[in-house]
Subunit: 342 residues, 2 copies
């Protein structure tokens, strides 16, 4: 990355430009923990303080979604779900959250109260406490309404090891529901398209479902929540981290008709649309059915299914077996389809 | 707080308006942990996970200081020091930090690298790791350059209890250095005043000094870092939380000549100027000398001194015994002297 470069929207989009920024600016200064392509939360060994096997997971995300309110949720539900899910996919039981608010002068307090009520309600349902916080106010025009940063803390039970670099040939690739709904809902909610369709964000706290999956099938190798960058970005990162080829089955990809319609109209790929209640699980094929049946016991897992398989080791690749019988390579885009999605 | 109200700069200023917002919007929704007037970090009991006496401290702050770079530090040093200090004053040993960046499209990457290098350097000197992070980019005009939210995690050793509601009559009120320098440095750095003077922010990580104080004098009752709102706001909160009267000695207040000059010119009170490397310690009078001598062993404690005493219990009061022999009551201001100080 050249020094004279300027930050662009692509740097925040979860594609190649984001990875390049993270590697060249953050990982080089702070160390390898910063690389979210390996895991959604840092797992910190605290055995010197609390005894053998004690591990804590920590994750942080800023939420800058626009608009603040959208079908299926708002910035508050997002700020709790996103952070709780990042802990859960690392095998951690969420313990507590912090919430830092940056508010624009002139924001109606009623809107803030609505956001805060969503956060409290979502936290209650995810069984996690918001234990500390911060509030800053900046002058009108120096921030867009409300930005929220939540940080989550979780406890990783002894023996649990879920990491992006553990995929192996023969693993099944599973998802718990339709892909791309969050991205499509935000795109519609902005109103720029002049379209209307009944698409709601899939925003949901997945820790109860993920906890059940890990109890039933401790052999799960990889779990990632497919937020910014979508299922495509997450699988591409897993392929890189584990040095494997992943083949998806086009016919098996669950995409709602409305989301598919928006994608076709705009020439975009739902594989790279953001989700906020979608987990990608890689597990030995023999255990795939067991995971799917646990998913289907939860409201967020009603449409759970296998979408592909890890086919080879030794070269990072991601492709789709299309309905025409051809193979289409999937490349992580440089930037993103839409900024401020989360 | 009435629903039709709008957020004002006063709500983010650390005075009465901030307290009102926190109480009416956040504490009511998330529970009492949110109230930073009681402690700078939440202390979380984790003994069900890690055994008897296990406690973790967690704190978060967003940094929105303008300008990004100022004499004595920058937004990066601030983001590490502020969070490390919030942990330390709760008696916690800082363990690790997360860092979430919200960047404005068009920000020169060189400036980001400068900020990140300051963070890495400050973290190294404070002996704390930055273990996870996040980067969001928003369109030009939707944020002012860079906002950083850091969250800190610390371990509270068994038996350590430092809280704002433990002050008792007879306690000495100590500080480790001159007050108001951070606020004065930011005010000058903005250049709006057309003044120049040699004032540097006191920005420093105090965890080594505070660790030594707690080892030497475990009887310390209250510790607070006097950031936004200054020494005045912190003492006023301690008086409220402990229900005591605190008397300060005007002649004992350490204020640099340059900071005093800026205050007099603007009609402002250095007691309410922000600090970023200043801790207020309340300790039984008999142990005051022991604490001061530990402070003086550290570069940040060279000008350590006693500035007052807790004089009565039963009514929350804060006043100054002036050099004219009169008493001046100190009221927490409604708003603040300056926004975006930290």
């Amino acid at each position: 990355m050249r020094d004279e470069q300027l930050i662009t929207l692509a740097h925040g989009a979860g594609g190649k430009a984001s990875s390049a920024l993270i590697q060249s600016v953050f990982v080089s200064a702070f160390g390898p923990h910063q690389d979210k392509s390996l895991q959604d939360a840092a797992v910190i060994d605290v055995q010197q303080h609390f005894g053998a096997g004690s591990r804590i997971a920590m994750t942080t995300d800023s939420y800058v979604v626009s608009p603040l309110f959208f079908p299926g949720g708002d910035i508050g539900t997002l700020a709790v779900c996103g952070t709780v899910n990042d802990l859960a996919v690392c095998g951690a039981r969420p313990l507590c959250l912090s919430a830092a608010f940056i508010l624009e002068e002139g924001l109606p307090i009623r809107e803030l109260q609505r956001v805060v009520a969503s956060m409290a309600d979502t936290a209650r349902r995810a069984n996690v406490s918001i234990v500390t916080g911060d509030t800053k106010v900046v002058a009108k025009g120096q921030v867009d309404k409300v930005f929220i940063t939540t940080t989550g803390l979780g406890v990783v039970p002894p023996g649990v090891q879920v990491r992006s670099d553990q995929a192996e040939a023969g693993d099944a690739v599973l998802v718990n529901g339709p892909i791309g709904d969050h991205g499509a809902a935000i795109m519609l909610a902005r109103g720029d398209l002049g379209l209307s369709a009944d698409v709601r964000s899939d925003c949901a706290a997945l820790n109860p479902m993920i906890g059940d999956i890990l109890s039933a099938v401790p052999a799960c190798r990889v779990m990632r929540d497919a937020t910014r960058g979508g299922v495509g970005a997450v699988l591409s990162e897993i392929a890189q981290a584990s040095n494997v080829a992943i083949a998806l089955d086009e016919n098996a990809l669950p995409v709602r008709l409305e989301t598919q319609g928006i994608c076709e109209l705009l020439g975009l790929d739902p594989l790279f649309f953001a989700n906020e209640g979608l987990v990608v699980v890689l597990v030995p094929q023999a255990q795939a059915e067991a995971v799917l049946s646990v998913m289907k016991n939860h409201p967020e897992g009603q449409s759970a299914r296998q979408i592909g398989q890890v086919v080879e080791q030794g070269q990072p690749l991601l492709y789709i077996n299309t309905s025409f019988g051809t193979k289409r390579m999937i490349e992580l885009p440089y930037g993103i389809q839409l900024p401020r999605i989360c």
